[in-house]
């Protein structure tokens, strides 16, 4: 299948809600159907081709070009195929995603992969907050899948996540892993405050020193073998996790005792 390409021709003046842009939908649609599919420019009901040049049809490979920072909900609930964006995207990228692959060369907004149940999202630039998180009031964040952010990320990364993996290359802001119930967050460049606050279970790995909550207790240094498994899994994405005893060790901190929770934060100490 050759990809469907969408190239931004008209910059939206207010946010454009485009949850119609998914491989699941487009694989069954002709070029005309794709062009005419409904997007919401603020409150206005518009056609996709009011904003995008569209080529291709009947494909679950989608390529998008342009500065899409005002375009929201791309790849929402998608379960197959691939969405590749050459540029930046707005909020809710891959929210409720069930499978398939999303790649963004630029930056992304808040709530990427929110409440997703499977799939893979890779944002090369910076991302906003609430990555893989639960929406307000909901108790269930991402249930599975992988989210990789090359740059920095915002508040509440992995809030209430249940399973799955989030990797952030740059520094993340406060409340990373807030109330998480499972899964793994890997922080390549550390985080600001309150990492792991109120976590119940799950693992946060940081390659850089972190300020810890007073409700985390130190429980020694080690080189656990599960890190090797993660390292293997992440290596194809260009991420390398150290674990060899000659290179250093992980210091383990358990919490959050205010819950009381059984989560762990592992911080790498180079030898």
């Amino acid at each position: 299948m050759s990809p469907i390409t969408l190239t931004l021709k008209e910059r939206p003046k207010v946010p454009l809600e485009a949850e119609t842009v998914t491989p699941d939908a487009f694989v069954t649609m002709s070029n005309e159907q794709i062009r005419s599919s409904l997007v919401y420019h603020g409150k206005r009901h518009c056609r996709l081709d009011d904003f995008f040049e569209v080529t291709g049809e009947f494909s679950d490979l989608i390529e998008m070009h342009g500065d899409l920072h005002r375009v929201k909900l791309l790849g929402k609930s998608m379960s197959r195929g691939q969405l590749k964006v050459y540029g930046s995207v707005g909020m809710h990228l891959g929210a409720d995603m069930r499978g398939g692959r999303i790649e963004v060369t630029g930056d992304a907004g808040d709530w990427i992969g929110a409440e997703m149940s499977n799939g893979f999202i890779h944002v090369h630039g910076n991302a906003g907050g609430q990555i893989g998180a639960a929406y307000r009031g909901s108790l269930r964040g991402m249930k599975n899948g992988t989210i990789i952010v090359g740059g920095t990320a915002g508040l509440e990364v992995g809030m209430r996540m249940r399973r799955g993996t989030i990797v952030v290359g740059g520094k993340v802001r406060d409340f990373c892993g807030l109330q998480m119930k499972g899964g793994t967050i890997v922080l390549m460049s550390g985080a600001e405050l309150r990492t792991g606050a109120w976590m119940v279970r799950g693992t946060i790995l940081s390659l850089q020193p972190l300020p810890l909550m007073p409700t985390f207790a130190s429980s020694g240094h080690y080189n656990p073998s599960f890190i090797d498994l993660y390292a293997q899994e992440l290596l194809p994405h260009g991420i390398s996790l150290p674990n060899h005893a000659s290179a250093g060790s992980w210091s383990r901190h358990c919490g959050d005792s205010s819950i009381p929770g059984k989560g762990e934060i592992l911080i790498w100490n180079p030898a």
Binding site: Y135, R136, G137, S138, L139
Partner: protein
């Protein structure tokens, strides 16, 4: 002017069971004939009087708190889209006011009783009710834990206590009086409860829950309020509470009373492990004591949010489930708790609760005295009533549902042994004629000449739940509000209120007491009449006791050939 022709009429208030008759409507009421106007061809269709909900929570501080606590539910529910003429809304566990009107009317209910209004937030409740379109409304004001009232009972000042109740009913612009866990809520404010009728109440010496219940029922009868004391008994939801419930009923002999959500008060056993259904004991007593009416408070499996003025029960639920919990205490009057909750067939307690609600509806043999309710949103959301109707009308469907229950649960209930199936006439009684009668709303629940023209027209079909979920037409006050599943009009509803008489001197007694314990000015406390846009006032005559509940006569033979449900 509207004429509805050829429909099969189910009008228990007038003893009509499936006869084909024309209905004529003019000026919002049924009349004997009309000339001109629209004709609705209802040939072969089933016609009920508009539904009346005797016990629901749709407006006021607590349901509005529940709305705030459940944004995740608002995101996964039915959304009513804004049109040029109609407001948007969200359905779900705690629907918005506009959606509340659309959803009730959408299944043919046209009158609701908001069952728990603290006087302090009565002004708020009326504002919300004004934003519930289509439906006519009544409300019950909470009095049984009011501290000024309790102090008077403690001092033995009955006449003054009566004036205090009457003054508060009028101040709240209410229609009736609700008593919640009498004495227990007052104790809850100290983190305590009063579970038995003879339990002392924290902070008082002589009065017990029993004193409050007896006195309040007497006061409401003597004031001549059209709806009797609306009682949420003590010890709600606890295993073995059947004894409290039976004691309460015995105490009420010779008085009118409406016992709310009976399901939550009909449990046997000693604790959560030995809990069993006690609906048979309750029904047996209830069947032979015609001074009372009740509503089922039925439970359906699934998600809901529980909200009640019974703070102690809510805190227990929170401890049992560990879910998020809200609690709201109102000074000197009441308190309420809010917990999102999921009833599951795999849970023994939930299974028993589900069965008990249905058992009571099936074992209480007089449909004029037990009414359909889920204590919305506590047992289930009101928009699931059609599922309960299906359970009542089909023994086979009940048997199917019971296969989901564990063998232990099936041993603790009597539902498998009950093969009664409701007739359409009985459904029309428990959903409309009966509750209208219990509320004393003579113009409701009837298709007779002079009654309010609130009508539901169903296309008869085998799938009972579907038939009752999707009426073909709903008319409110003679206006077509629902047609073919669309909302055609959203007129504002009326509010029925009562004006009991009281000695105006009571204000000079109340004012200093009030200012002692409350934080707002006495003069600002009563709800101003101007705030009610469509009020319908009923004057009550002191000492003139309204008639006791209507009891069933033999059901007339059904006149039409019905489909086999």
């Amino acid at each position: 002017m509207i004429r509805i022709t050829g429909g099969k009429i189910f009008d228990p208030a007038n003893g009509i069971n499936g006869q084909v008759r024309d209905l004529c409507i003019d000026g919002g009421k049924f009349v004997s004939s009309v000339i001109g106007g629209r004709t609705i061809d209802a040939a072969g269709m089933i016609i009920f009087p508009g539904g009346v909900d005797v016990h629901t929570h749709v407006a006021g501080g607590s349901i509005n708190f529940a709305r705030a606590m459940t944004p995740e539910d608002h995101r996964r529910t039915t959304a009513f889209i804004r049109t040029q003429s109609r407001r948007s809304g969200l359905g779900g566990m705690a629907p918005t006011t506009f959606a509340t009107g659309y959803l009730y009317a959408g299944m043919g209910w046209t009158t609701v009783n908001e069952a728990a209004v603290p006087v302090l937030s009565a002004r708020h409740t009326h504002e919300e009710m004004r934003d519930i379109p289509i439906l006519d409304k009544t409300s019950c004001v909470l009095m049984a834990n009011n501290e000024i009232f309790l102090d008077l009972l403690e001092a033995g000042e009955f006449e003054r206590a009566k004036d205090v109740i009457a003054w508060h009913v009028w101040a709240a612009k209410a229609y009736g009086v609700k008593a919640v866990n009498p004495g227990g809520v007052a104790a809850w404010k100290w983190g305590k409860d009063a579970k038995q009728l003879t339990d002392p109440i924290e902070g008082y010496n002589s009065i017990t829950p029993g004193t409050i219940i007896g006195r309040l029922a007497q006061i409401i009868d003597e004031l001549g309020l059209p709806h009797p004391m609306h009682l949420h008994c003590n010890n709600l939801g606890a295993p073995g509470n059947v004894w409290t419930t039976l004691e309460t009923m015995k105490l009420l002999e010779g008085r009118r009373a409406h016992i709310a959500h009976l399901q939550y008060h009909a449990y046997g056993g000693d604790d959560w492990d030995t809990m069993r259904s006690a609906s048979a004991e309750v029904a047996e007593y209830f069947n032979t004591h015609t001074n009372m009416t009740t509503d089922a408070g039925a439970v359906l499996f699934g998600d809901t949010v529980t909200i009640t003025a019974d703070g102690p029960w809510q805190h227990l639920l929170y401890k049992l489930t560990g879910r998020k919990w809200g609690n709201l205490d109102v000074e000197n009057e009441t308190g309420c708790g809010i917990v999102p909750y999921t009833y599951r067939p795999s849970n023994l307690v939930n299974s028993i609760q589900w069965a008990v609600g249905l058992e009571l509806l099936l074992l209480i043999n007089d449909p004029w005295r037990i009414f359909l309710s889920t204590d919305h949103p506590n047992g289930a959301c009101f928009w699931r009533y059609p599922e309960i109707i299906q359970l009542l009308m089909s023994y086979d469907f009940r048997k199917d549902c019971m296969t989901k229950l564990s063998p232990i649960a099936r041993e603790r209930i009597t539902l498998p042994d009950i093969d009664r199936e409701y007739t359409l006439y009985e459904i029309a009684t428990i959903t409309s004629a009966g509750p209208a009668r219990a509320l004393g709303l003579t113009q409701k629940g009837s298709l007779g000449i002079g009654a309010d023209a609130d009508v539901v027209i169903y296309e008869e079909e085998k799938d009972i739940a579907k038939m009752f979920s999707h009426p073909r037409y709903v008319l409110k006050g003679g206006e077509v509000v629902i047609e073919d599943g669309d909302i055609r009009a959203t007129p504002e509803g009326r509010e029925f209120i009562v004006k009991p008489s009281f000695d105006p001197e009571i204000e000079s007694f109340l004012k200093p007491k009030f200012e002692d314990v409350y934080t707002m000015s006495f003069e600002n406390y009563p709800v101003e009449m101007e705030r009610l846009e469509h009020a319908d006032i009923r004057e009550c005559i002191n000492g003139q006791a309204p008639s006791p509940p209507r009891t069933a006569e033999k059901e007339p033979d059904r006149a039409d050939e019905g489909v086999e449900f």
